[in-house]
Point group: C2
Chain length 355, copies 2
Amino acid sequence: MGSAVGDESKTSGSRPTIRDVAAAAGVSKSLVSLAFKDPQRVGEKRRELILKTAQTLGYQPNFLARSLATEGSPFVGILVVNLHNPIFAEIADAVRVELDARGEYGLITSATVANDQDPEQPYGRIDSRVIAMLQDLRPKALIVVGTVIEHEGLFEGIPTVYASAEPRSDSGYSSVRMDDTQGADLVIDHLRELGHERIAFVGGLGGAVAKTREVAYRKAMESRGLTPIVREAGFFEGDGYAAATELLAMASPPTAIVSINDVSAIGILSAADDAGVAVPDELAVVGVDNIPLSALKRISLTSVDPQNKLIGQLSAQAVFDILADPDEPAKEHLITPKLVIRDSTVRGDIVADKS
Amino acid sequence: MGSAVGDESKTSGSRPTIRDVAAAAGVSKSLVSLAFKDPQRVGEKRRELILKTAQTLGYQPNFLARSLATEGSPFVGILVVNLHNPIFAEIADAVRVELDARGEYGLITSATVANDQDPEQPYGRIDSRVIAMLQDLRPKALIVVGTVIEHEGLFEGIPTVYASAEPRSDSGYSSVRMDDTQGADLVIDHLRELGHERIAFVGGLGGAVAKTREVAYRKAMESRGLTPIVREAGFFEGDGYAAATELLAMASPPTAIVSINDVSAIGILSAADDAGVAVPDELAVVGVDNIPLSALKRISLTSVDPQNKLIGQLSAQAVFDILADPDEPAKEHLITPKLVIRDSTVRGDIVADKS
DNA sequence: GATCCATTTTGAACCGGTCCAAATCTAGAG
DNA sequence: CTCTAGATTTGGACCGGTTCAAAATGGATC
């Protein structure tokens, strides 16, 4: 009565709230809330009524308010450490697909800050403001994709799974990553089948991942009665190029080079080109990561595929395990990699190009 | 009095709140709030006291509560459409650096959902739950990096800048992107200087970006009295390969091919290799994007560099402009690209490899 | 010592939800 | 028709901040 205020007086501008719906439907806000999160508890009639008015009003629960009230957000956080690395994008995708399949959803974020001090690990340092935000958001769980430099209990209280990170001795966090030992075995066996014996390794610098792979290479060689030839190097094209150039200048150069990763391996290919060494006839080259560009015809690099899709799936799986039983001890999942054989070891033999 | 409740009874577990600090410092919560967001208004003594007790208690304002109360979050949202495209990572980085330099910060997110229906634009469709969240968060502004398929007023009420997206006629949103017309001029001029006249274009399928580049190529050719040769194709390696194979089988094949982007151009290189056509002697190839892998020696592709760093910077700049004056009409910034000349057009001539 | 004004501080309402104890409404049993 | 148990609905406190009008404080002035 009175000055006949329209029903929609509040609707101006911002989104309708739960109170608007309650008023329009003639029920209490509590009931509207219930109708959304536990529909069975609400009587048939009102439920329909509430849902319909919500629909017509265009109501959508406010995520912020909900998270504040419940002390927790409805999603799983996915922190992608390094946006420049395509394999992390693959893992993140797989994580999201798996979460979706189980009715959860993932929020992808990156907080990486360029780190000029350490050219060998330019990414991995993290913006604390973004972390603070993520903490306040309190996602159900967190999946960290890639290696974070400073991680000391950053996400206390949030169940965390590390996907494709470096092996860490500390923490009781679950992790999922490629089994480098098996990777090295695959590579060395493949090369030996092709008749190679002087097999060198390029890499080892720049963190635990590098070290792990170097050790795996050494073991694989020694267990087969071969002598390791290691040339320390970093992760990038230039590193592989320099190392390979040196190796090829040796008195009796290696007939095969195994690299720490694909990008460096591509540098090795260039070094061979420049030195007039034919690949694969005079030199076989193998990388690790199986990044998309290794499949390009111009490169066609034999590579250890870490099975990123599987890593993503298992990471999501690990999150569900933790959620189901928070007291379960942390697990370390080691994925068996696959060897993708291309022209850099066997001419013209294109195998398992698409998986 | 009574059962002597300890001061820290609330501190157990979760982070201390503003009330904990207020109690510990013997002031009201309002004052603590003030001390944090407008320190000048608080008396010297209490300010110091409050800040110190906050420090010792380890208090940090809760981002969620703040955003809810103020109806807005303290950061600029950066929505990276496609994590798999390295140029978007470059843009996002540049945006963040620029925001940082001006005291703001960016929250990177990706909401892309794989889109099996349309293999030519596999990314660009967006997870509505993530969008809803972003809306609730109400960032100061939003920078969308890359082309979003469905965008109809998704972010109403939030100032939005499109970086490196397709040109859009609708909307009053600001945008920053490469000037494709200038890009085409650079390419055609370069090729003509090298004596090429039969210059073909590969691409044009898969959205407005593709169409824009095709039109730019046509204009550049016609304005120079040359006849356009267009072979419609998509964005990927296979597309370039197929198109180039066809072109090279023509009675009088082109002596140069301009591609829609680098990835497709690499396919063209492969096609030339397989057809026994020498690059650059018998065929020159040019791409667009200057993705990192085009600089690899094995590929060494001449490419139009869209100046991603600059695009990122200007996008951030555009955000500040809007924030400073919300009524300013939307602007369209066109960036002048640079041509990076490599072996695919001029043998052995390595120019501007690192910027 | 009283008065006035500027500065500092406080209390309470609010943002948009959740949640729980209490109130109300069924309907079947006695 | 009353009683009671179970289902449904509601009011109000709460999450952790912000905000603003009003109260308290502190000088300076008369």
